[in-house]
């Protein structure tokens, strides 16, 4: 099982953060290094420059709504974001986050319980979410096993490479 604890600073965002904000349309075909610097720039221009590896995005309802662009979770992963904890996630965002190996959890109450800059700890396996500033403790819904297997493998392309790369994949069938 891969590392399950993520601890870092909170970057706090609101509701309905769309893929247009996470990966602005005009940058959809640039390289990831170029693209990632525009992540959420119209909501928080400092985010892409200041976010550190292991930091956590805490957000409201319907995070990642909008298009199918996988560049949305990819930008966050490339910036080093350790995981996303949201009131609710758009289906496509969750699917894409799993596909590229970025953990994303749904945790009712999280938007209220955290503020920008808080010290957060997330246990991906159990779904326990702790605010070390306030002591608040919340429960996120744990990811189904099928999704965790893909996350642990490092994403669905890693699963695929194992299938075709001759290493064999015992779970395929």
């Amino acid at each position: 099982m891969a590392e399950t604890i993520v601890r870092g600073r909170v970057w706090h965002f609101g509701h309905d953060i769309s893929t247009d904000l996470l990966s602005p349309g005009g940058f959809a075909i640039g390289s990831v290094d170029e693209r990632k610097m525009h992540t959420l720039e119209s909501v928080n221009p400092g985010f892409a420059g200041d976010v550190r590896p292991g930091d956590v995005v805490v957000t409201g309802r319907n995070f990642g709504c909008g298009s199918s662009r996988e560049t949305a979770p990819e930008n966050l992963k490339a910036l080093g974001v350790g995981c996303i904890v949201a009131e609710s996630l758009s289906r496509l965002f969750l699917r894409n986050a799993v596909a590229i190996g970025l953990p994303a959890l749904v945790c009712p109450g999280v938007h209220e319980a955290f503020a920008d800059g808080d010290d957060i700890e997330v246990d991906l396996a159990s779904g326990r979410v702790v605010n070390h500033r306030t002591g608040a403790m919340l429960e996120a819904s744990a990811l189904p096993e099928e999704m965790r297997e893909i996350l642990d493998a490092g994403g669905i392309l890693a699963v695929l490479r194992r299938q075709f790369g001759g290493e064999g994949d015992p779970s395929s069938g």
Partner: protein, 424 residues
């Protein structure tokens, strides 16, 4: 003891499992996969990198160049060249080059989608094809690579929400208004991870164009699938495309739903989504009078012949207000040809419309009709998020073709029922 929703029926069949229930994970065979120009080159690069010998089922793959049409930059032209090379090298079953139309118009229009199919595409508005009782949904590039290389993909069988729609739409009100009203009433999250079934007596009256509009926007309220039953309307639409009777397809009468919402449509007014969320919706009367700089009729939501016709009925013999840009993008070359043959295009052009190529253009803020800071637009498309059509300081309102046409004439948001030609 069958009591399955449409989503359960289709996913169970595609997974080769007798009966599946909401919440289960299945690995299912993909009947049809669509990739458009934003992602196609990257997807095919990754398929080749994975070590896969090629596409598992090339005939089930459709590639469309529609987002960057015609290529607005040298980089886009280069991207398109690479896509054409991949399409030839990998024997892709169907390829629609730039100018043929928008992917969600072409899949049904050219007869690719049939009831009961499991369809994936690298685009969130894949839900459109639920209009034909296909379980169709958007996936990202990595999932698409997996699907193309193996012919299969994992799915969680969704819970289903059913909208029981009754009543009769008043003149001047169309199904775009219905889906906007549902978004406004139930919110952008109501169908998250869930399938929707659009049902009830009012649905029997709808034509396929209206169903496609509604299913298109099902994703705006979170849906994984936005399904209509396959019925006589579906059969007639397929027959026009040379597809033999596929039979009716519907949920079992005693299927179990997470929620059933009864909605009465007779008292509905034309609706407008306000910036910057699709579920911030008001009757047009509440926002009438707001000045606009741009009006857009097009996109996979409302760029069909029926939509251009509704706009032309309002614009006939009128002129767009000074200072307003009216942009019309027919959803496909066939729509363009038909609109031309029927004189609809002439009416629109005479009224002052600029006709754009059949593609996505300004809908996603790509190119060809973007908004500057402080500008306000009203369009027939499906999203009004910050920055969607250009500047993050622009405002986007969403409405029906009739409302957009009426607003273009008035130079401000206007109720189409206040104009001649708004027959319904």
């Amino acid at each position: 003891m069958a009591r399955l929703t449409l989503a359960e029926k289709i996913l169970g069949r595609a997974a080769g499992v007798a009966e599946v229930a909401a919440g289960e994970f299945v690995v299912a065979d993909i009947d049809l996969a669509m990739i458009h120009d934003i992602f196609a080159a990257r997807v095919f690069d990754l398929v080749l990198d994975s070590g896969a010998p090629g596409l598992a089922d090339p005939e089930a793959v459709v590639v469309v160049i529609d987002h960057l049409v015609p290529a607005p930059t040298p980089e886009a032209a280069d991207l398109h060249r690479r896509i054409r090379e991949h399409v030839a090298a990998l024997d892709v079953g169907t390829f629609y080059d730039a100018g043929e139309g928008i992917c969600h118009q072409l899949l049904p229009e050219r007869g690719h989608v049939r009831p009961g199919m499991l369809v994936v595409g690298t685009d969130s508005h894949m839900t459109t094809h639920g209009a034909l009782a296909a379980a169709a949904t958007g996936i990202g590039t990595s999932d698409m690579v997996y699907a193309l290389a193996t012919g299969r993909l994992w799915f969680q069988v969704p819970e289903t929400i059913r909208f029981e729609l009754s009543g009769t739409l008043s003149p001047g009100v169309v199904w775009k208004d219905v889906i906007l009203a549902l978004a406004g009433r139930f919110g952008s999250d109501v169908a998250q991870y869930r399938a929707i079934e659009f049902a009830g007596p009012a649905v029997k009256e709808t034509d396929m164009a209206s169903r496609l509009t509604v299913s298109n926007m099902a994703v705006e309220i979170g849906a994984k699938f936005g399904l209509f039953d396959a019925d006589e309307v579906t059969e007639a639409y397929l027959r026009e495309r040379g597809i033999e009777a596929t039979g009716p397809l519907a949920a079992d009468p005693d299927a179990s739903y997470e929620a059933v919402h009864d909605v009465f449509l007779s008292d509905l007014d034309p609706q407008v989504a306000l910036p910057n969320e699709v579920d911030r919706v008001a009757p047009v009367g509440d926002v009438a009078g707001q000045p606009i700089e741009q009006a857009f009729i097009g996109s996979c939501t409302n760029g069909r012949l029926e939509d251009l016709e509704a706009a032309a009925a309002i614009l006939e013999g009128k002129r767009v207000a000074p200072g307003v840009r009216l942009l019309v993008a027919p959803a496909s070359r066939r729509v363009l040809q038909e609109a031309s043959a029927r004189g609809i295009l002439d009416t629109l052009i005479a009224a002052g419309a600029s006709v754009l190529p059949s593609g996505c253009g300004p809908c996603f803020g790509g190119h060809g009709g973007l908004l500057g800071a402080g500008e306000r637009a009203i369009g027939t498309h499906n999203r009004n998020f910050v920055g969607r059509m250009g500047s993050a300081q622009a405002e986007i309102y969403l409405a029906s073709p009739a409302t957009v046409a009426a607003s273009a004439i008035a130079g401000r948001i206007a109720d189409p029922r206040s104009m001649e030609g708004a027959g319904g």
